[in-house]
């Protein structure tokens, strides 16, 4: 089974880099990809894999450092109304519509609730930093990595 972990974010904007930091734990263990922003490049990164995990900082109003998991049931109901960029969910739906055979059978999105994505810093907020090992454990469990 081929798996990929995709981290999304900008390492220079404090908590925005949390997805990239989490991906670092898996370099050399499974295939990893880092994206500063997303478009069709997300589909490029997903094609050919059986299982994929996408990790990103998110802002949903929960406590900073909370880990939120999204799956197909969630994104199946989301439509973008865009001007220039697309949401993760929209891109994944496009991928399944156009490449049903080549897209992963399973995709899980792990979101870490961010606190500050505006300060120029490579250090995450303490609460977000604390969430990193928890997110790593969840991904290991999901992908069956010891």
């Amino acid at each position: 089974m081929r798996s990929v972990i995709i981290g999304i974010g900008n390492p220079n904007f404090k908590d925005d880099g949390v997805g990239l930091k989490i991906v670092e734990y898996f370099e050399g263990v499974v295939d990893t990809v880092t994206l500063l922003n997303i478009g069709f490049n997300l589909i490029d990164s997903l094609l050919g894999y059986d299982k994929a995990v996408i990790v990103d900082g998110v802002k949903t109003g929960k406590e900073p450092g909370s880990i939120i998991e999204f799956n197909a049931e969630f994104w199946g109901d989301v439509y973008a109304s865009g001007t220039h960029n697309f949401s993760i969910f929209e891109i994944i739906r496009i991928g399944y519509s156009v490449f049903p055979e080549e897209m992963p059978k399973e995709i899980k999105i792990i979101g870490v609730e961010v606190e500050d994505v505006e300060t120029l810093s490579r250090q995450c907020s303490p609460s977000v930093e604390d969430a990193i090992p928890k997110a790593v454990s969840k991904i290991k469990e999901y992908l069956g990595i010891n």
């Binding site: 974010g9 900008n10 904007f13 925005d16 994206l35 500063l36 922003n37 997303i38 478009g39 069709f40 490049n41 589909i43 490029d44 990103d56 900082g57 998110v58 802002k59 949903t60 109003g61 999204f70 989301v78 439509y79 973008a80 109304s81 865009g82 001007t83 220039h84 960029n85 697309f86 949401s87 993760i88 969910f89 929209e90 739906r93 496009i94 519509s97 156009v98 490449f99 979101g111 961010v114 994505v117």
Partner: protein, 423 residues
Amino acid sequence: MHYTASVKAADAVYGVEPTPTAKKIRELFYNAHYVEDHTGILYALGFPDFVCGPTASPAERNLVGLVLKVGADVGKLVLKKRYSAVKIFELTSGRPSHPVAALPGGWSKRITEEERKEILACADDCIELAKLTLDVFDKVVLQNKEYMALVTGDVYKVVTNYIGTVDENDKVTYYDGTQKIVDTKGNELGRFKGIQYLDYIAERTLPWSYQKAPYLKKLGWNGLVDGDGTSIYSVGPLARFNVGSGFDTPLAQEAYEKMLAAFGGKPVHHTLAYHWTRAIELMHAAETVKKIASDESITDPNVRQELGTPVGEGVGIVEAARGVLIHHYKTDDKGIVTDANLIVATTHNKGPMNIAVKRAAQSFIKNGKVDEGILNLVEIAYRPYDLCFACSTHTLPGRIPVRIDIIDHHGELVKSLRNYELS
């Protein structure tokens, strides 16, 4: 786009010109990015309005809906061919996205002969993609009387001045050239390069917006109004069409002449024509990639100039996919930036976009009757500009929030529509 504007500004900060080979590779890289960018905007954001219908619900009016209408095979072909542009991006800049090759005065990623041949093969894919795109546009929009009435009608029409970049033969170009200004009738108002932009563009701060409103300095601020005498201007694909005398590649020139004939001249002020010009430019960029990759001298190893002491100030201007992009840096004697000003396409287009939204609202909201379809009819008004708000907010579920408040003549709120849920 910002990456290239930034390295051009860095060239200027060091007072150095990139080597001829580095310049060619940068231009190759830049045009490949145009192919990828225009493809995404057209298929994901522009075409669905026409293929799925202007008032279709967001659930249908997207690339998935487009694929359902035109067929999964077309969708697959588009995304696969588009990947060839991404491949060129990787071959010229070291990575498929987020390039790592720019240096002041040069470019760190050389191109081998094998890579050049691979780029040539990818360029053919890009040209095929452009042919397909012009064909889709022709079948879906140009052959549909109802849509053509929308494209050439007065609702989606904003009469402004235009700024775009041209080469020494007055043809449209993207990586480097001279910025040319024409008025609402197409008369030339001036040309500038680099720091001269300060003589032509002024930015006005508005009390109601975080965004400044640029205008033509020599005409003075006349407010956010269009029509003859306005001092606001537009940038982007339609502006380039209006400013340039055509394209320097055969298939793009052919498509340009077809559009010119359809409108019976220029400037064209119909904003939905932005999508048409975007499709033409997709062809132009693809042909330009092929032209540059056909030049064996791009494998020359001389890709970097020696750097001296920074001169302390530099301006880099490129024609980003969505319009003129200006990076202006001031630095200390070590080249560290101490002051920076960026004027991006979405800022240049602030005035035209506001007028476009107002016109659409005034046209579609009648007798207090509004419905959900109006949200999209207004979105259609600004979508051609491909406006770029920060992508880094990471707000789930990822929608662009749009709210329309209907206010009556007493100033009372009648109705509020939005495309998002309140948490």
